[in-house]
Symmetry: D2
Subunit: 342 residues, 4 copies
């Protein structure tokens, strides 16, 4: 019996990626597709790569349209998920790709998003300690942000093992799809091709409190995160370079052993062999994560670099993986493990 | 019972793409991987995106290594397939991604490749008239060249319907993976990014006789092809702009109707709605083809533009699709229908 | 004594490129900058690369603002130049980068632009037969379109020498800056990177009649042009692949000799040695043009491939070069001859 | 009277960029061009964009070939400059783009380069405190590395003003031309387009001791640098994200004021207005540097982001700028101040 899934926000990049994955998910049947400003349009016009759904017409995002499905994926602007979720009923699995239910710290939410905190849902990053168990059988899932996905997988093992001082420095490059389909001049192809630039420098990016939350939980103390996002001339992918002062006595072998152990049973996270480096191209379109670790003895820092596809593992893949867990399906069902390289 | 497949030439782009597809093919189990200059290396080093096969070690390309499989994919330099195929036995399905068995015209082969003609195998482009039937049950398959895949799908219906004069003009842009992994200065990232250039201008490209063959077969008369390939700043994808003088009396509606009919039952070929244009990004990593047709009344020409992924539908996807047909499996098994866009 | 220049439309790509060139032009002093929707903004915000003019504030595009300059560059939407030019006085050199005064065929103008024809000005492509002489001392210049610049330089010698049949087929790839700074979804970086697509297929592109005009003038008979523009994943550059049936008896050496002779005295046009191919990267940011010719004996066609930078030689460079000629300055003054490669 | 300049290593990216700049330098006449493995080849084949020098033939890099020039630019592999320089005579200005004479710490040289230290020459980054004065009249110049150019300009003012703790963290993205023209698989266009990856993680990059040297000199104490270089999908450009713990009491206004003062008289370094971010595209092909500063109060760090063109300001532009100073020419002569954007 197929799981019936609706996608709210099907005209955006996150919604489109969810549909790309669902198109080859053997247990899911795609139901309603909604999108407010594009309601009434054929999906073939809005998302020309989604051939199997080309003739579907987008509906308004209403509870009526989304009702009657087993799973509802929400790919909506921040702040809109709570109202929809409330109406959908407790039996429906609601997978929220927005930020609304990611943070447990109401104050941090308020400060970065400026609206009242809506609550906290089980966190859709099963590779974090304790996260998978919380997803089993859940009917509400908060899919992590794309940057926090990469950064948390990169640094949580070091913090959980007590190897790092609680001041992390993260510089991450993202493909432009991370900024969505918004029509802004700096996102034009002419501006981004052949050019790299930072944005939100100095602590303002909304994904920062989510990183602080995950790393602090692992460390058992508050971890500060200096986060600088940069825009790279590519459509997809996040390369996160994460570092922290190593706790005295931390050795390179110990560091490596901690990561090997942390991910030895994870099918989507690969600690690369020494000498190999993560590349976003290697995980393009896949749910896979590549990590590498290093200890810089001169600078006294441990460095972890992680590569993910921001739209797949960083959004839609994480959402489908978490859905699989929640519904008791095989965790990897319908998820590409191999990136489309070169 | 799984089909056991070997891949000869697993370290190149074609071989890697075959493995990417086989990794999620539910009926195939991957056996031997070979690669001459890289024999002895772990695949994880050569193809870091192929995580599920990272620990496999490449063997020399010998008949001994390839024996004992149900299917052998050959992704070898031109001229090497015949010797291998001869030894493998008639019961083994040999799928050749090289050029050796694509041409029926021994003279054209000799002229463009400079070696004796090895023969002609059933042609792995099932969407061409008669091709699918010839693949059923076959134990030898010649996978088409990437350019001829795009150009033949774009122009065969027009020629088969008698709409076009027998002088085709084709200008196609390819991603750099079409040139393989060879270490040539003009393929360096620094040279290709932000730059477009032609090559093999004036009729020299080896895919030209293959296009002539397919279009002539459809037209029932010899069709000349003026073919200019260009190198585009992208890794994958072919955009083929194909045109010919329209036969007198050809109308835009008739043209469109011919293409609608030609591909109405083909799951991988989409004639886009009027006003929509093919884009290689839409078919990235998928086995899909996007086509659009137009009639230029002023110039008296019909124009057909086609987009394919040179490595997927243009090579490995075409190979797997043809294998599925030859073995009696569902034709689309294991083949992504949705491109990884954006 | 410096020439005082104003730029109308300074916030767009064409206007910005004019300013980039004028910044290092030893005889020009930049005066008023205008731009309607951006009037009141600092140029540093709109064009962050134009450091020397960062503090300039854009004015409204009015005759008052543009008056009192020796040269006025118009980089305005089509149809706006005539009104401005009329008011500026006959003594002011008006260099129009728009289409308004390019076409001599009022009917063709009307058909492709839908407004009454404004007239015809001396054509700013000095390398065409007779064009340079018409620019000397002129106070009105119509800068050619970017595609017609590439295509005319590529095909005019063949037509002038009677080597080609009067049916040209042109497929050209352009960088996205050719489409301007307009906020359209298909111009987003996420959409264009890694993807090629055509547009305006079938004869609709507005640059077509300009090509027809130039090629017909050279041929002495009407030449039809089948023109397919494509959008390439790069910011700048046009690669135009142009072909036509060769007139009977045309030889490869004769073809080459015609082009050598046509451009032997042109400092910005290079016929590459045999075996070398034009690349847009080689002319990036420069006023240079690279050409290569070939004769395809099998297909009976001559092929000429040309590479230009659409913003430099294709727009702003052509404008400055023509200004230099009109004002009696050295033709190459302030114009980069060497592309920024790699 | 023209300055006569020779370029050793004219077939590489650094040598080619020196020639691009010299082609429009009004006081320089280009003499001998040398290049060992390419001796005997025409430059037009090796560097097709350098049209004005297309017919020049490369000589072997010998003292005989380089003698008789006023200036000799060395763009040679590390370790080869000392021997050449020794023979050229003290009256010749030798501008070394290699690393040989950049470091004053012989031990650091030995550790990172593995050969005996050759000495220390005046450092070609005139914007550093004291550097310009040391270049005036000098006949030996060590051009900085591309990364140290960006990082030193970004962090020296903060260290000189005592605002930062002596542990810097730098993550920088470079275009692939930074890796030179070497034929390595990971530099192929197919590998780098659409993909970001790190390299030399953990302190191994040879530019690290040069950064340590410059920052320590500014701070008056040893500054450690944790440096992670990454390869971005673009040909040119470095975006360096640099941070350090802010010394207690450092305020955002003070930080900004320090940078404003440091660069107020520098024509090639721009501190962007608040809210604007550096982009490598803005400085493409130019000698300009864009900087922005921020204070992250939560994380207690100051962040400085800098954008340079690795080949221009980061190599050839810095070399020509330093030559101008050494020879008493206007510092900006022949140097583009405006990047080729978009």
């Amino acid at each position: 019996m197929a799981v019936r899934a609706a996608v709210a926000g099907a005209s955006g990049y996150a919604g489109g990626e969810i549909l790309r994955l669902l198109a080859s998910h053997p247990e899911v049947e795609v139901g309603a597709l909604t999108g407010n400003s594009n309601a009434g349009s054929r999906l073939g016009v809005l998302q020309p790569h989604l051939t199997p759904f080309a003739d579907r017409v987008l509906e308004e995002t209403t509870v009526a349209a989304l009702a009657g499905h087993d799973v509802v994926f929400l790919a909506l602007p921040h702040g809109q998920s709570a109202a929809v979720a409330r109406e959908l009923g407790e039996g429906v699995l609601v997978v929220d790709c927005g930020a609304d239910f990611r943070l447990s710290d109401a104050q941090a939410w308020q400060r970065f998003y400026g609206t009242p905190h809506a609550g906290t849902w089980p966190y859709g990053l099963p590779e974090l300690p304790g996260a998978r168990a919380a997803l089993v059988g859940s009917r509400r899932i908060a899919v992590p942000g794309c940057y926090p996905t990469a950064v948390s997988l990169a640094l949580v093992p070091a913090y959980a093992a007590g190897l790092a001082e609680p001041e992390a420095v993260v510089v991450a490059a993202t493909g432009t799809s991370g900024a969505g389909k918004a029509l802004k001049p700096h996102l034009l192809g002419s501006e981004v091709m052949g050019s790299m630039s930072p944005y939100g420098v100095g602590g303002g990016h909304r994904h920062t409190p989510e990183m602080v939350q995950n790393l602090s939980a692992a460390a058992g103390e508050r971890v500060s995160v200096s986060f600088t996002p940069t825009l790279a001339p590519m459509s997809r992918g996040i390369l996160a370079t994460c570092s922290a002062r190593a706790r005295p006595g931390t050795g390179a072998e110990e560091l490596r052993a901690v990561y090997e152990k942390a991910y030895q049973d994870e099918q989507f996270v690969t600690l690369l062999p020494e000498g190999a480096w993560p590349a976003t191209g290697h995980v393009h379109g896949s749910n896979s994560v590549q990590l590498q670790v290093a200890l810089d003895a001169d600078a006294g820092r441990l460095i972890v670099v992680g590569a993910v596809d921001n739209l797949t593992k960083g959004t839609a893949g994480g959402a489908v993986q978490s859905m699989n867990i929640a519904l008791g399906l095989p965790e990897a069902l319908g998820l590409p493990a191999v990136g489309t390289a070169p």
